[in-house]
Symmetry: C2
């Protein structure tokens, strides 16, 4: 039997995600742990996050620079991942969208927390047109 023992490392990683509203990478969480004097290896953070993603408690968002970011699954929002600056913006899902989306993917078991939109954020769009 696997993944059932309570450990300081698991508690730390989940707590770290719960207490923030950005989308940290493994090394950001690792740096936090170091600063806070929490003894945890980077490898364990990878493993713990993968388990949380598997359980559906956390979602993984990969930006264009090939870095995995993690987000505790809270409420109905989607991610806009900027392909230019790699920023991730949280946006609430409209009811209208939610309904039409459900209709469209009827029959599929969609893991909503992995539904991300890739594009160009407002800041980078401005920079683009001003060139």
């Amino acid at each position: 039997m696997t993944n059932h023992r309570k450990t300081k490392q698991k508690e730390y990683v989940l707590g770290n995600l719960l207490n923030r509203f950005d989308h940290p990478t493994v090394s950001q969480i690792y740096d936090d742990a170091l600063k806070e004097g929490v003894k945890i290896g980077e490898v364990s953070i990878y493993r713990i996050l993968n388990n949380l993603v598997e359980e559906g408690k956390v979602c993984k968002i990969v930006t264009k620079d090939n870095l995995a970011h993690f987000d505790y699954v809270r409420e109905n929002h989607f991610h806009l991942v900027c392909n230019i600056c790699n920023k991730i913006v949280d946006k609430p899902i409209t009811e209208e969208f939610d309904k039409s989306f459900s209709n469209m993917v009827k029959g599929f078991d969609i893991l909503k927390q992995d539904v991300n939109f890739y594009g160009v954020c407002e800041d980078c769009a401005k920079k683009r047109t001003s060139n």
Copy 2:
């Protein structure tokens, strides 16, 4: 000035994508080229595909096993990427969805071809419930 010369390699990669309806990886395209006796290096396929993605002619879809798949941007369809078996399924976008989506992301420059949905495909869902 960059990326303006017509080469056999560029033509081959784009042609390969145009003539198929699955979502090949770099090494699949490379294998095809070998079989067809086309002289092209794997590195060039990476470079050419990255350029095509940059131009918006091709989109890149990353499956959970960390493999990049490529798809020539044709008409209004989205991708359902299965997190279990890594299969990619094309699905047409409904008008209803398209409208509500446009409303929701108003203000963002969304690169539609990078809009993918991650979840569990019908086959894998069946296997799951039967356990």
